[in-house]
């Protein structure tokens, strides 16, 4: 038996066409799951679905505005309809806008809160409704961050750190509420991952060098590193693991 096999499972991946989301969608599809990627751009979600379909996988794309709860519910229902069920949620939605404490605006703070925390709540709710109704258990995984645990020295990270920290507690509470239904809920917490979105880090040589110096493994995470942890939490291998956060950080939190 391969404990990482996802044959016959159906996974919904909001934020699924970003650098990390795409790697996760690919990993889950390669493990045998049908996947539906979702995000603000239905075209990008569909493009990823087409790519996966061309590679022989079962994949769909749907448009979803994570800032809008009704939209979230509709997108989840649509994904369940397309795949004929819903077993797995991997929430890859996340955003950041740097603002130092003196400059934080209500608009930006609320926007990040809605993207990072509020959407996670209502994604979990909408997916849990399908999972509980089906009575087959299930998996929910949220993308956290090393900023769930560590503050960010020298930068304006109030909204990001606070919302990612709160996600840890959301994971724990959902784990408890969903445990009686055989649904596990866990978090994957990476450090900076080598994606297009991380390019702004790379362009700042000092910041990049400082980042590398802090990572004991001596390299920056690839998207597939995060996908590996997500696959573990989506697979039967982790059926007894719930309410946990796995740091995929090359040793950063172990040493700070």
């Amino acid at each position: 038996m391969n404990p990482f096999d996802l044959s016959g499972r159906k996974a919904f991946i909001p934020g699924g066409y970003g650098g990390i989301g795409e790697a996760i969608a690919q990993a889950l599809a390669e493990a045998g799951a049908a996947v539906t990627a979702a995000g603000r751009s239905g075209d990008k979600a569909q493009a990823l679905a087409d790519k996966l379909t061309a590679a022989g996988h079962k994949a769909f794309g749907v448009a979803m505005d994570g800032q809008d709860t009704a939209h979230i519910k509709d997108a989840v229902d649509e994904a369940a309809r397309l795949m004929g069920g819903l077993d797995i949620l991997v929430n890859c939605i996340g955003m950041n806008r740097e603002q130092k404490i003196a400059d934080v605006t209500e608009e930006t703070f609320d926007e990040i809160y809605r993207a990072n925390l509020r959407s996670a709540m209502f994604l979990a709710q909408a997916v849990a409704r399908h999972q509980v109704a089906a009575g087959q258990g299930g998996k929910q995984v949220h993308l956290l961050s090393v900023r769930s645990q560590l503050g960010m020295r020298g930068f304006g990270y109030s909204a990001y750190c606070a919302t990612k920290g709160a996600l840890v507690m959301l994971v724990k509470q959902h784990a408890l509420e969903l445990a009686p239904h055989g649904i596990t809920v866990n978090g994957v917490a990476p450090t900076v991952v080598l994606t297009d979105a991380a390019e702004k880090w790379r362009s700042d040589e000092t910041r990049w060098a400082a980042l590398l110096a802090r990572i004991p493994l001596g390299r920056v995470a690839q998207a597939r590193d995060v996908a590996g942890a997500a696959l573990f939490f989506c697979s039967p291998a982790s059926d007894f693991v719930t309410g946990q956060t796995l740091y995929v950080d090359g040793g950063i939190t172990a040493s700070q």
């Binding site: 038996m1 391969n2 404990p3 990482f4 724990k172 784990a175 408890l176 445990a179 009686p180 055989g182 596990t184 990476p190 004991p216 493994l217 001596g218 995470a221 690839q222 590193d225 995060v226 590996g228 942890a229 696959l231 573990f232 039967p236 291998a237 982790s238 059926d239 007894f240 693991v241 719930t242 309410g243 946990q244 796995l246 740091y247 995929v248 950080d249 090359g250 040793g251 939190t253 172990a254 040493s255």
Partner: protein, 246 residues
């Protein structure tokens, strides 16, 4: 998830959890050295295993015995790629009931043994730029032991610190070091030492409503040894059914 060509050492291999790990590693194509203090049990187990195995009787609390056992493994299977420091003994005695001998016995196996084996295999892993060490901690290190005693809880706290320290030392060389902190795996060590009232009380506290299957513990080892976890180091992975979340 192939481990073809990899050499794995599992300590405490004759126990329920150790054997589950051995089976998983063999299934993934690795060759496995089964290390255990119980030579007779090792002998009877190894007959039933398919794959490339070697039985290595060893009291891991003795540094000389570990050195010898390690040499034997290298001679038969080659250098060690993956070390699973699984061996452990349980003591439910709280401080007042812990004798000097009990304290030494628990520390000797749980801490000294893990250290001696790690020290033995690390140089070659570092030299070959790849290695995986998986330690076995416990929920007891974080809770002070729900039913486990003082020496056991302390020894598992030491395992967490050993994991962090080795992870830091080995990270620049392609070697990851992590720990798994299981709670209430269905082993004789755990289940036979709980009375019925304790059993029911603990089950009621575990959110997923059941004890951990030995195979589920092995899956976590598999994950940490696999390419899926290549960027994970210095982590303690809790496998506890939601009994403790931190």
């Amino acid at each position: 998830m192939t481990l073809a060509g990899k050499t794995v050492v599992v300590t405490g291999a004759a126990g329920t959890m150790g054997l589950a790990v051995v089976r998983a590693m063999l299934e993934d194509g690795a060759q496995v050295a089964l290390v255990d203090v119980d030579a007779l049990r090792l002998d009877s187990i190894i007959r039933f295993l398919r794959g490339h195995t070697v039985a290595v009787p060893c009291d891991i609390s003795e540094p000389g015995a570990v050195r010898q056992a390690h040499q034997q493994v290298e001679k038969v299977l080659g250098p060690v790629d993956i070390l699973v420091n699984n061996a452990g003994v349980l003591s439910n005695e709280k401080s007042a009931g812990t004798t000097d001998a009990e304290w030494r016995r628990v520390m000797g196996v749980n801490v000294d043994g893990a250290f001696y084996w790690s020290r033995a295999v690390l140089p070659s892993m570092i030299q070959r730029k790849w290695g995986r060490i998986v330690n076995v901690g416990s929920l007891a290190a974080k809770t002070g032991g729900l039913t486990a005693g003082t020496a056991y809880s302390t020894s598992k706290g030491a395992i967490a610190a050993l994991t962090f320290s080795l992870a830091r030392e080995a990270a620049p060389h392609g070697v990851t070091v992590n720990a798994i902190a299981p709670a209430y795996v269905k082993t004789p060590m755990v289940t036979e030492q709980l009375n019925e009232a304790q059993r029911r009380q603990i089950l009621a506290q575990i959110p997923v409503g059941r004890f951990c299957e030995p195979e589920e513990f092995a899956h976590a080892v598999r994950f940490l040894a696999s390419p899926l976890a290549g960027f994970v180091t210095g982590e303690v992975l809790d496998v506890n059914g939601g009994l403790h979340m931190d």
